[in-house]
């Protein structure tokens, strides 16, 4: 009954962060600790590890790390999560995007791709499908494999269907999928203009210029100083007047960046780059 209590201490969390940085080159020091600790505890319980077992495999078992990375980063996502956000994008960002000949969008921390395809559906419905291209990036190669497939279990699609109803987009979510027994495959025309690749927000740099960047429910895992560093990366990756979308409970806390981004929608945390 008492297995939960103090399974890993604060100091041990820091010890593991150190090991992961030195051995694997991933820096988790800017992650919020309560959440990180919960993930580490979960990994230990799943593997029936004591702290020293976990330390040992992180140092000595190279194959363990990919699975570790997958567990440590939260990959829970939904299609059309926060339907009101998609309504806001449709009414406040799409008119701006439509003035461009080619629209480039970056979905940062895209996990298994649900948000990328939600955006692809929205743009397609707005008539921008042919001229837009969405880049989905994540630090995790395994989730990107899933994203590229664009195949989701029917059970999940059912739960996304309710979100879809609230977006005010026409039809139903299944209009955009081919159903195969217990799975649903996103239509090829929606997949064509997407590209999924590995990018680490903490250590990688600018790789293109975008009219819109969506990074939703990623900042919640980062300390504010790290958020600020990544805001700088986003600022540099946006074209003048480009849009930045954060999660519905994530705001720009940094004073420096408050003056570099204008609030377009307070509730949905949609911002526009000002200045150059």
């Amino acid at each position: 009954m008492d297995t939960e209590q103090g399974i890993i201490s604060h100091a041990q969390v820091h010890e593991l962060i150190d090991i992961v940085r030195k051995v694997h080159g991933f820096d988790f020091s800017g992650y919020t600790k309560a959440s990180l600790k919960r993930r580490l505890t979960r990994i230990m319980l799943l593997n029936k590890f004591e702290f020293y077992d976990l330390k040992h495999v992180l140092i000595n078992d190279a194959d363990f790390f990919q699975g570790f990375l997958e567990e440590i980063t939260v990959n829970v996502t939904e299609m059309f999560r926060d339907p009101s956000f998609y309504r806001a994008v449709n009414s406040q960002v799409v008119p701006y995007l439509s003035t461009y000949q080619h629209v480039k969008i970056w979905s940062a921390g895209c996990s298994t791709g649900e948000e990328v395809y939600s955006m692809a559906i929205l743009l397609n419905e707005a008539g921008l499908g042919k001229k837009s291209f969405i880049y989905g990036t994540d630090i995790n190669t395994e989730v990107l494999k899933e994203a590229r497939k664009g195949i989701y279990s029917l059970r999940n699609i059912k739960s996304y269907a309710e979100n879809y109803q609230y977006t005010d987009l026409k039809g139903s979510i299944t209009d955009h999928f081919t159903i195969l027994y217990d799975a649903a495959s996103i239509h090829n025309e929606l997949k064509q203009n997407t590209l999924f690749s590995v990018h680490n927000l903490i250590s990688d740099t600018v790789f293109n210029e975008f009219q819109m960047i969506s990074c939703r429910n990623v900042f919640i895992y980062f300390e504010t100083y790290l958020q600020e560093r990544i805001l700088d990366l986003f600022y540099k990756s946006l074209c003048p007047l480009g849009y930045l979308c954060l999660g519905s409970k994530e705001t720009i806390r940094s004073d420096t960046f408050k003056s570099k981004f204008k609030v377009i929608n307070q509730k949905e945390n949609i911002y526009q780059k000002v200045g150059t």
């Binding site: 919020t32 600790k33 309560a34 939260v74 829970v76 996502t77 339907p83 609230y166 994530e250 705001t251």
Partner: protein
């Protein structure tokens, strides 16, 4: 009879008040938020199970009727005195060592997001004996383990009397775990919170 002296002392010493409720807890929570004074001298945190796409209803109703300043938690909000925070739907709410909240979208716990266990456990780690927590009516077992962790960290822990709750399972699970210092009826809970 009013609350006993030891209980009163511990209530007055608490700096952080955690209220966890699920099915059947709305009425009692509504009465609590309506009756708590504007300047309680404590931080109040509400964790309430609810459906994800209907977020604004409970928050709006509570905010309109509470005397204390009320706020739906946003990521990295700092815990302040005389503020009532409500954990947002479709996120888990955690408390960090620096005295601020962080949110998390990971898997539901007991089919619930927000999960009461998640917030209670992280509060126990950061604030230990500075907390008091009440686990109210509910139809699953979320919150019981978290309440136990709070108790072990020195927090004052209370479960609603199951016979007095609309849904007995949640407080009952906590009592069975030995997580509750006190088992109180609705009326006893009000008396305590207002004294």
């Amino acid at each position: 009879m009013g609350p006993d002296k030891k209980l009163l002392e511990r209530w007055h010493a608490a700096q952080i008040v955690l209220l966890g409720g699920s099915a059947g807890s709305f009425k009692i929570l509504f009465r609590i938020i309506k009756d708590l004074p504007e300047k309680l001298g404590k931080t109040v945190i509400l964790i309430i199970h609810r459906k994800k796409n209907f977020f604004s209803e409970i928050e709006k109703l509570f905010a309109e009727n509470s005397r204390m300043y009320m706020r739906e938690i946003e990521d990295k909000d700092i815990l302040k005195t005389d503020t009532m925070y409500i954990a947002p739907a479709n996120y888990h709410t955690l408390i960090e060592r620096g005295g601020y909240f962080s949110l998390d979208v990971s898997e539901p716990v007991w089919y619930s997001k927000p999960s009461i266990d998640v917030t209670f456990e992280s509060a126990a780690e950061v604030y230990g004996d500075k907390c008091m927590a009440i686990l109210l009516s509910g139809a699953n077992q979320d919150g019981a383990k978290g309440l136990l962790k709070l108790k072990k960290s020195g927090s004052l822990t209370i479960a609603q009397e199951p016979g007095d709750a609309e849904m007995a399972e949640m407080p009952k699970a906590a009592i069975n775990l030995g997580a509750a210092d006190y088992v109180l009826t609705q009326d006893e809970i009000f008396k305590l919170l207002l004294s």
